[in-house]
Symmetry: C2
Subunit: 247 residues, 2 copies
DNA sequence: AATTGGTGTTTCGTTTAGCGAAACATGTAA
DNA sequence: TTACATGTTTCGCTAAACGAAACACCAATT
């Protein structure tokens, strides 16, 4: 009816998840009710697959890999490219770092590294917002050739309920011009009160339709922080493989 | 060396996770490279275990159960009791709702239902804070018999780096007295700037060492909201199984 | 030094669990 | 009616999974 060894495997995983702390093999065997060699074979397999690790003697534990199985991994290549950059920013600022890409006139969130701080900005990969309401979308649009940018602006849904600040296409054009000139995009409490975002295009990495942003609650956002973020963006850009001259 | 059928099982799960959308059996078989009966047996086992579902014809999909395996599920009974209450509050306020319990002189977060709003307060189950720094801990302590409360106050680690506001045991006693009298606890930007929490004890439900709190960013916290939360707490308490007279 | 106990790993004879080609069942479209 | 797609079952075969027992190593105690 069901595959016995698969069932055994999941009962091991579930026991470990319920317990929550690393456990020695003997305790796991007693808790799950399996003989040690059987359990050992299962754990070894899970360890090979990356779902279980052996931290110290007496410490078999689940890894994060199980959690990431539930996540949307559709943008594998872009995510691989962006991850090191995102991790650098996350390590330096401990704020939520987002990877977004342009899809039609929307910004689609493709990957997120969340801040470890308890008050944070949360977006799940897969969420979409009108491009002009997000720092990500603005950074991408600003980095596009003018012809394409104008077409985007012409199609932007300015009547979208999320959009608050930008009422005319001329205003959007001005924002994108400014964004292009300084090399980064900003969005401060426009779509959601209490949140600010800064973003830069991944065009110098060969991904003109993608961008990375750092978002944070407003109480952690100030002049000095913004300057530090802008400097960090510039530093990353200087090291891009195709560090093109800013148009 | 490794258990073959377990490896096969995880390659199925990983393929489904990568693809991100529901898939028919034939496509799964081609994508993973397994014969249909083999795949069918694996999927049937995973379906029995709750990790995979069959939504429609041609739609095998992952469930949320894999993600929840990564979560801490140590407090099953208490969590079961508290969940309906937490869900009521979450449904009404769409803020992060926490379940905490007293462990020594610490508040331990046992369960969390997060707000659907993007700016939110995040705490993972398993995290611990000194009881007197959290609304949860204060609500629990305030609901305890006086003798036990005094012992707790005497042992509170007032020098803990997280604690900012409460400098003396007399001050803590006053806060707990006030909490006890009005039936709910509050903590506004004391431990983390930008966050406020209100909490009530689960003592009327037979759980004197547990409490539920609602936490939110400060920009969503005001007089009217607090009053609504306090009213909701009172309503829940009026319906508690052992709705004891407040001591 | 010997013994005990704990953690983790390997050996090896047994047997049945998992395998997969083939067939079947159902539904839809041409 | 035929063709095709999705899903499910049958059944002979064999090697994968099993688990008792043993082993390896380390630390603490007697």
């Amino acid at each position: 009816m069901a595959i016995e060894v698969v069932e055994k495997t999941f009962s091991v995983l579930e026991f470990m998840a319920r317990h929550g702390q690393p456990l020695p093999l003997g305790e796991l065997a007693a808790g799950v009710g399996l003989p040690k060699p059987t359990l050992y074979r299962i754990l070894r397999t899970l360890r090979n697959l990356g779902y279980v690790e052996q931290r110290e003697v007496g410490e078999y534990a689940l890894t994060e890999r199980l959690v990431s199985l539930g996540r949307n991994d559709r943008f594998h290549h872009l995510t691989q490219l962006a991850r090191p950059l995102m991790q650098r920013l996350h390590a330096e600022f401990d704020e939520t770092v987002n990877l977004g890409l342009l899809e039609g006139t929307y910004t689609l969130y493709a990957d997120v590294i969340e801040t470890t701080q308890a008050l944070r900005w949360i977006v799940k990969p897969g969420v979409r917002d009108p491009f002009h309401t997000t720092a990500l979308g603005r950074a991408i649009a600003a980095g596009l050739p003018e012809e394409r940018r104008s077409r985007l602006v012409a199609k932007a849904d300015l009547a979208h309920p999320v959009a608050r600040r930008i009422k005319t296409r001329a205003a959007l054009q001005r924002i994108l011009e400014e964004t292009r000139r300084r090399g980064w995009a900003v969005e401060e409490e426009e779509t959601v009160t209490g949140v600010a975002c800064l973003a830069f295009s991944l065009q110098p990495w060969g991904e003109p339709l993608a961008a990375i942003s750092v978002s944070m609650p407003i109480n952690r956002y100030n002049e000095r922080r913004r300057a530090a973020l802008v400097a960090a963006f510039a530093e990353l850009r200087a090291k891009a493989p195709a560090a093109a001259v800013t148009a």
